[in-house]
């Protein structure tokens, strides 16, 4: 009954081209010998070489990765707790406010989150003396605050789809609530935890605006370095960096896709 409509396929093709052509051009020109992105003057790896010797950029990247890892781990834990609360504790008092606080960071403009957190950190430093200066800790706290909301969305939908009778069965067989959670619930939502972690990691690695507000001297993250070099104009080093990021992401996707495809095959073989 399904007939493909050509205008629809046309829009689809246009949409994907729109999404991917800029990225492909970025990759292509990372191998360009010339500094100009507009003129192709020959194939070269020289921008990768320069990238690998850009001390400032590498330091910033290392800082960003560390912040992202801390952020992703804490956000995963907090986001999972919040998802538990929303799916397992019914209509508790203050639930509406709770949900509001978990949805707002998803859409709140970065400038508002950044500014307000900075003002909080300043006020806290004045009154209780902590945090002492701004840097790693303040950026991590800021990132956790907005990325835990994303983790909650991912984990919540997995929890909501989980068959509640699995947990009931475990309890019926004598497992106490904590055991049920550790032995049954957690293993079953592990994929969601992983994607929540990865999402939080990427969000942190990607953030320019909030980090700019809450960072201090000596804590420059990768996006901040990229931003200042982009403001100066087009830089082929950034193209090289983009290519590396795309390569890492593509590799991760291929590995994930490959493991997922392996699974049903194995299941079938054992089932036969």
């Amino acid at each position: 009954m399904k007939r493909r409509s050509w205008p629809l396929l046309g829009v689809l093709a246009f949409g994907y081209a729109f999404l991917y052509v800029p990225i492909l051009l970025l990759i292509l020109y990372s191998f360009n010998e010339s500094r100009l992105v507009t003129v192709w003057s020959g194939f070269s790896f020289k921008w990768y070489g320069e990238l690998l010797h850009n001390r400032q950029l590498l330091d910033a990247a290392w800082l960003s990765v560390r912040i992202a890892a801390v952020n992703a781990t804490v956000a995963m834990i907090l986001g999972t707790l919040a998802a538990n609360a929303l799916t397992r504790h019914g209509r508790f008092r203050g639930r509406t406010g709770f949900e509001l606080l978990l949805t707002a960071p998803l859409v709140m403009p970065d400038v508002i989150i950044g500014l307000s957190l900075l003002l909080l950190f300043v006020a806290m430093q004045q009154t209780i003396g902590w945090p002492d200066g701004r840097g790693f800790t303040t950026i991590a706290i800021a990132h956790i605050t907005f990325s835990m909301a994303y983790v909650t969305v991912v984990v919540r939908s997995r929890l909501a789809r989980m068959d509640a009778s699995l947990e009931e069965a475990a309890m019926d067989l004598g497992a106490r609530p904590l055991t049920v959670y550790l032995r049954i619930t957690l293993p079953l939502i592990a994929p969601a935890l992983l994607s929540g972690w990865l999402l939080a990691f990427t969000l942190s690695l990607d953030d320019l605006v909030i980090a700019s507000f809450v960072s201090g001297p000596g804590s420059t993250t990768l996006p901040m370095v990229v931003y200042s070099s982009v403001r100066m104009g087009v830089s082929p080093q950034i193209n090289a960096l983009a290519t590396l990021i795309v390569a890492i992401v593509a590799l991760a996707v291929i590995v994930a896709g490959w493991t997922m495809r392996q699974k049903p095959d194995r299941a079938q073989k054992r089932g036969a």
Partner: protein, 302 residues
């Protein structure tokens, strides 16, 4: 399951609700109170650069200083109101374009054969995982006066003189639609796949032609997805900074960029805070709309 009246259940409530609530209260809600308090302070050459709300002036007298100067300034200087209005306008236009491009894409993906659907969806999500900043940067090279687009168009002979696109409002539109398109497609896709295909078959069986069936059945039923996607685009775009900064004209006024300038260049924290509060006030209505919908989607049939 009903709440078992046990100690461990109370503990689990405390942990699951209490810890995230405390975190968000401290780092998300409390900051807004502080922002609100700083809007009524005066800028000062101090660290931090604003006056205190209250001061002890001898003999235990408490002097409270309220300064509404910032809001008066925003009201009287056209530049701020113009920026607010322009931000809303840009966000609206971009939301419409995202919808026009995103709806057919989401529909095409949702109706694609099962095997291909996951790959198509993956391709929508994939750009998320690469740096947002770098993706916006890519458009500089494309839209520049001597950039790739102009070179291409000159080469094809469609134009004789290069178009001036970068650092105009159009470049902002392109950048925003490009960056926010996935936010529109994902909720729409989720909504459209949940649609029972037999509804369309029933409509066809009752004599409804495909396009009419789309207008009368699919479109009304996907309204929740349309609103959700639109809000996911509209709200953050109103306060967007990176795209207007990198692609827009230096004179183009967006409130996010203005706030950034007041804060980082002019060091006027109270004014920046006032702008943040105004921006927040503007976004309350669309946010409540989205929140309502979200609750309905979460609690509705899966």
């Amino acid at each position: 399951m009903t709440a078992p009246p046990t100690h461990s259940h109370r503990l689990s409530r405390l942990v699951n609700i209490g810890i995230p609530y405390l975190w968000l209260g401290l780092f998300f809600l409390l900051p807004f109170a502080i922002v609100l308090r700083i809007t009524i302070a005066e800028p000062a050459l101090a660290q931090p650069p604003y006056t205190a709300l209250w001061e002890w002036v001898g003999d235990g007298m408490l002097q409270i200083q309220v300064n509404l100067q910032n809001f008066i300034l925003i009201w009287e200087d056209d530049i701020y109101l113009a920026a607010l209005l322009n931000s809303l306008w840009v966000a609206f236009i971009c939301t419409v374009f995202c919808l026009l491009l995103g709806y057919p894409m989401a529909y095409a993906i949702a109706t694609a054969p099962e095997r291909r659907r996951m790959i198509l969806l993956m391709l929508i999500i994939l750009p998320f995982w690469t740096s947002f900043l770098i993706r916006v940067y890519a458009w500089i090279g494309i839209l520049k006066t001597n950039g790739l687009l102009n070179n291409f168009l000159l080469w094809t002979g469609l134009i004789d003189t290069p178009l001036h696109i970068l650092h105009t409002q159009s470049a902002v539109y392109i950048g925003v639609v490009y960056s926010y398109l996935p936010f529109m497609i994902l909720p729409l896709y989720a909504n459209l796949t949940r649609l029972d295909p037999t509804l369309l078959e029933a409509a066809a069986d009752l004599g409804c032609r495909p396009f009419r069936a789309f207008l009368r059945v699919t479109l009304p039923l996907s309204m929740a997805g349309i609103v959700a996607g639109s809000m996911l685009v509209f709200i953050p775009v109103v306060g967007e900074f990176v795209i207007p900064d990198l692609l827009g004209s230096p004179g183009s006024l967006m409130v996010g960029k203005l706030l950034w300038t007041e804060f980082f260049s002019n060091k006027d924290w109270p004014l920046a805070a006032s702008l943040a509060i105004l921006l927040l006030a503007l976004l309350v209505v669309p946010f409540v709309l989205m929140q309502r919908l979200q609750t309905r989607i979460e609690e509705g049939p899966a």
